[in-house]
């Protein structure tokens, strides 16, 4: 199999990518990119004609830069030139660039079309496929105009290679979707339909997508496809699991084609021809029967493929809605899935049953599952599954079960609170959040507690980019003749603060706003009226032209003599205030509300108090907030906001969010082929920060929006001292600040760490220091953990970090001559004494950088020892209380392949292994 570095490996590109990955900041990345762009530009403009390889390399670099999210405004011409290269790789990169970067109105389209035309007529299958892909990727009108008539010819020609037919079918489909008027099938129709009979399964799979789309638009012209599809399906369904060779997917024969056939049949009513219909019913029965057979494999891929066909068959049965027997069988099958342990199947079963419920034949059968569905509504952890359950209950409701279902739905409404939380937790933009909450109030006002609307106001006040939108939205919502009192509250508050933002529009002029609010006044309870009165006085300040009208309202008996003390007081005071205060005083008193201090969401606080069944666990919510919630932080999220000095650009090793355990990018994707779920270990929160300190003693260990932790440390023999600096980055005091250092597991017998407690208060902007004394008793592999707890605003922050105390800190460098080195190397030749790793370079392979790292490791870097001058060898002795461990290291870089081989030999095998692990992440 071709290895990564094989073939056309473009070394310059690999170096560039790795440079970008090594950039420590966004600025450094931009700088590096600009340098590269300047370089490429000068190469393209230079007098010397570039050879194909260089052109390809530079175009590929441009593509990489573009995919990183930067604009590219040149290089298109060079890419177009590559299209006419007769070297495959150059052409391929050219086409890739065009597909990704060229938009349909480009001036180059004529040149591109020309190159495509040449490739299409080249009769070279590989070139033809590239050209067809490009047409499908760009899919513009101009391309349709140029090629729509040519492609059907290629598709049905007898001498076209199968792979080209496949590309042609899908290319044609793409053009048909963008410009149906240009794709005229006419004479080709019957030959295209007959592709369903093609011997090559790949051709059928590709062609059927085209045929399905055409059938939807012109069912009559294509109706001959029904009988062909039925017989093809029947052949697949009745084939043994090995008949179709590589088209069998995890023991399921041709799942993609089967589903596509079933989908095609859904474009038509049941076949009229009795024989065809009989055959089809037989197929559907076979599929239903197979669902009951024991699985041929335990892999999820097997069951997914099998069930995909089953769900598609059920969709067809529902579409026909004419076979009571099949409908009931389908319903029973779905009933089984309702309690399946796979969440995916439960979700799909609920969804599919929803359509079954509307069929008269299966409505009763669906109703028998009511208890299961209600249970799903109550207990499913995944909100999207609960949503499906609610939909299904709605669909299965009739006179006989209405009372039960309505009662359940009502109690479900209590989850409104949770909806509000989810909306906040996952809010990606605030206008969406405002929409969602206002919708919530509109649909389920009674179930929206105070906390929910408090929160929406807090958020609107704190985010000036959403205020205008919020004002507009509440104004519209209040237009409804009957609106919930909670809506009036939100409306009153927001218009009182930000009504000016929409007052420019005559449809929402100040007086219109006021009249709208006041029209709701008399129907509201006392607290709401009190709120509205405050909104009115704010109006007087915002819009002097409303003063007279509002004063009149305040002055009337029902306000100024109101039996409620609060209302009366407000009316009297506001009236007086508006009459005697100067505009300046008024403006000061009634100034816009200052931003709320960021504190724990009121909704979250409420949820914490509530401990009912099904209540979302609070830690879960807080985790979510940290990951997805911007509402409290107000800053950017993710690695970008905490640029750690060594965070490389592409982020593989950049600081992980506090709550997520990083998975090394080097780990195999296929690990997941085993069914184990992602195991998150909370202790490994800062592997990144931790690993940065293997070769250095000072620096920033951790940083987020609130807190920065710096480290200085020194080691002598088997003793060490570490100074930790905790900096409060906010302007608010941290309270109850405590730190605990612990040595988990056997580490407590290997390492002795003593710390003094720190002051419990850390003022805003202040930094406090803590000293740790460390003693290494014997060699160790784990890291001590530092747990930090403090209160910021109302919220408790809790953070656990690995302290970068690693075994190499206790190294004493040992100088030795070449001869001694090899003698000792040989002495340490038992297999377990050696640990070796081969790994890809993650950073620049620059000699000076490497040397600095090896020195930072604490060993002696020995010159003139290794016969190969490219290699590095080091020697050192680890000092522990109990013993000394001699260690030798050899690092062999391979610049060509961007790889290293690292070998360690130590007198103690656990040390070899640990050092090897630590070091493999450093280069």
């Amino acid at each position: 199999m071709p290895a990564v570095s094989k073939g056309d490996g473009m070394r310059g590109l690999a170096v560039f990518i790795s440079d970008i990955r090594n950039c420590k900041s966004k600025e450094a990345e931009i700088k590096r990119i600009n340098k590269e762009l300047a370089n490429i530009r000068s190469k393209f403009k230079g007098d010397k004609a570039l050879d194909g390889y260089s052109k390809k390399k530079y175009v590929c670099k441009l593509l990489f830069i573009f995919l990183l999210g930067h604009d590219i405004d040149f290089g298109h011409m060079e890419a177009v030139n590559l299209l006419s290269s007769n070297k495959y790789t150059e052409k391929q990169i050219g086409y890739l660039f065009i597909s990704v970067l060229v938009n349909s109105n480009s001036e180059l389209i004529r040149l591109i079309n020309n190159a495509i035309k040449n490739d299409l007529s080249s009769r070279n299958p590989t070139f033809m496929c590239l050209a067809l892909h490009c047409i499908a990727n760009v899919g513009s009108r101009e391309m349709a105009e140029a090629f729509a008539s040519e492609i059907p010819r290629i598709l049905v020609a007898g001498d076209t290679m199968d792979s080209v037919k496949q590309s042609a079918a899908l290319c044609l489909l793409r053009l048909y979707k963008t410009s149906p008027d240009l794709v005229l099938m006419g004479e080709w129709t019957s030959r295209v339909v007959h592709l369903l009979n093609d011997q090559h399964m790949g051709v059928v799979t590709a062609a059927i997508s085209l045929i399905t789309c055409l059938s939807q638009k012109n069912p009559d012209e294509f109706k001959t496809c029904v009988s062909l599809a039925v017989s093809r399906l029947s052949r697949i369904v009745s084939s043994a699991s090995t008949d179709l060779q590589d088209y069998t997917y995890y023991f399921v024969p041709a799942p993609w084609l089967s589903c596509k056939l079933l989908r095609l049949l859904q474009c038509y009513p049941p076949p009229e021809d009795g024989a065809v219909k009989g055959r089809l019913v037989e197929c559907l029965e076979t599929i239903l029967n197979k669902a009951q057979e024991p699985p041929k494999s335990k892999k999820v891929q097997h069951s997914n493929a099998k069930n995909a066909i089953l769900f598609e068959a059920i969709a067809l049965i529902i579409h026909y809605d004419s076979e009571p027997n099949l409908l009931v069988r389908a319903c029973n099958q779905l009933g089984q899935f309702l309690q399946h342990r796979e969440t995916n199947l439960r979700y799909l079963a609920l969804e599919s049953m929803c359509t079954l419920a509307s069929s008269e034949f299966s409505h009763e059968a669906v109703k028998t599952h009511i208890e299961t569905v209600i249970n799903a509504l109550k207990t499913e952890r995944d909100v999207s599954v609960r949503q499906r359950a609610a939909d299904l209950l709605y669909a299965m409701c009739d006179r006989s079960n209405a009372k039960q279902i309505v009662a359940e739905m009502l109690s479900y409404l209590e989850t409104v609170l949770k909806v509000a939380i989810l909306a906040e937790k996952y809010a990606v933009d605030y206008s969406w959040y405002v929409d969602t909450i206002l919708n919530l109030i509109r649909i389920a006002g009674d179930y929206v507690s105070e906390e929910v609307w408090y929160r929406v106001i807090q958020i609107v006040i704190n985010r000036d980019d959403v205020q205008g939108y919020a004002a507009k939205t509440v104004f519209e919502a209040l237009q409804a003749p009957a609106c919930h009192e909670n809506m009036v509250k939100v409306g009153g508050y927001i218009l009182g603060e930000f009504g000016n933002l929409i007052a420019g529009d005559p449809r929402s002029s100040p007086l219109v706003q006021f009249n709208l609010l006041h029209s709701k006044f008399h129907l509201c309870s006392v607290p709401t009226r009190a709120l509205l009165l405050s909104a009115y006085i704010k109006f007087i300040n915002l819009f002097p032209e409303t003063k007279a009208t509002i004063q009149e309202v305040l002055r009337c008996d029902s306000q100024i003599r109101n039996s409620d003390v609060e209302l009366q007081q407000r009316a009297v005071e506001y009236l007086k205030l508006s009459s005697i205060a100067s505009t300046d005083v008024l403006a000061t008193v009634l100034e816009e509300m200052p931003p709320f201090p960021e504190r724990e969401s009121s909704i979250l606080a409420k949820l914490k108090k509530k401990k009912g069944p099904g209540a979302v666990s609070v830690t879960e919510m807080e985790d979510g907030k940290r990951e997805g919630g911007e509402l409290n932080g107000g800053g950017d999220r993710g690695p970008d906001s905490t640029p750690s000095p060594s965070a490389d650009l592409l982020g593989i090793r950049s600081a992980a969010p506090v709550s997520a355990a990083p998975t090394s990018a080097g780990s195999l994707l296929v690990d997941v082929f085993s069914e184990a779920g992602p195991a998150a270990s909370s202790a490994a929160v800062n592997d990144e920060g931790f690993l940065r300190f293997v070769c250095k003693n000072n620096g920033v260990l951790f940083e987020n929006q609130l807190l920065q932790i710096g480290i200085k440390s020194e080691y002598r023999q088997n003793l060490g001292r570490m100074y930790l600096f905790y900096g409060n980055k906010t302007s608010v005091q941290f309270a109850s600040f405590t730190t605990t250092v612990s040595c988990p597991g056997e580490l407590c017998s290997q390492l002795n760490v003593q710390s003094k407690p720190v002051e419990p208060l850390v003022e805003g902007g202040a930094q406090i220091q803590q000293v740790l004394n460390i003693e290494c008793l014997t060699d160790f592999s784990e890291a001590p953990l530092l747990n930090i707890k403090f209160r910021y605003g109302g919220a408790l922050q809790n953070l656990t970090l690995k302290l970068p105390v690693t075994i190499n800190k206790f190294f004493q460098p040992t100088e030795m001559a070449s001869q001694d080195f090899f003698q000792r190397w040989k002495q340490l030749s038992q297999p377990q004494q050696e640990a070796q790793k081969i790994f890809k370079a993650n950073n620049s392979m620059d000699t000076e950088v490497l040397k600095a790292k090896l020195l930072g490791l604490g060993m002696a870097l020995l010159d003139n020892v290794d016969p190969n001058p490219e290699n590095y060898v080091c020697a050192g002795v680890i000092q522990t209380k109990g013993q000394q461990v001699g260690c030798l290291l050899r690092l062999e870089p391979n610049a060509q392949a961007q790889m290293y081989r690292l070998t360690l030999r130590c007198s103690k095998d656990s040390v070899s292994r640990r050092l090897c692990e630590l070091l493999a992440e450093q280069f």
Binding site: M1, P2, V4, G7, S18, R21, F64, L67, N86, K87, Y88, Q92, L96, N103, T126, C129, N137, G139, S163, L173, G202, T205, A206, S209, D246, Y247, A254, P255, W256, L257, C259, Q301, A308, T343, N344, R381, D382, S384, V385, Q387, Y426, G624, G638, G651, I652, A656, P657, P662, T663, S664, A665, G666, S667, L668, L669, V670, D671, G677, K840, Q898
Partner: protein, 156 residues
Amino acid sequence: MMRFLLLFSRQGRLRLQKWFTPMTEREKKKIIRDMTTLVLARQPRSCNFIQWKDLKIIYKRYASLYFCLGVENQENELLALEVIHRYVELLDKYFGNVCELDIIFNFEKAYFILDEFLMGGEIQETSKQMVNRSIEASDMLQEDDSSEWYEVELFG
């Protein structure tokens, strides 16, 4: 049909983006942002499907990478999940124990492999052997760039 396929890391870094319908850069950025937020916030063991606007989002995590596929509403969710899996298998077969780094450093290959498998948002070839054969064939072409190369039996 499929509308887009995105690969991103746990930190939300985009590793591959494939758009099957024309879209402005602005729309793409918005979708990328929405998808990373949406998918990264999911709890483990949630179902792999999310309804998002008029699309179904099907996602799955493989080691450090999330694969996220946006498909039209009538598409089959389970098969979409297997589209992702088959792509991972193809990458794995090509790179041999594929990891995120392979995709970063050989992004163009990851796009080529995808192009052999999917086209215009539909499946072009489901057979792993067939796809691999054409990828191998093009790799052979890269090694031996003689002009007579297409005489070689490539697709037999």
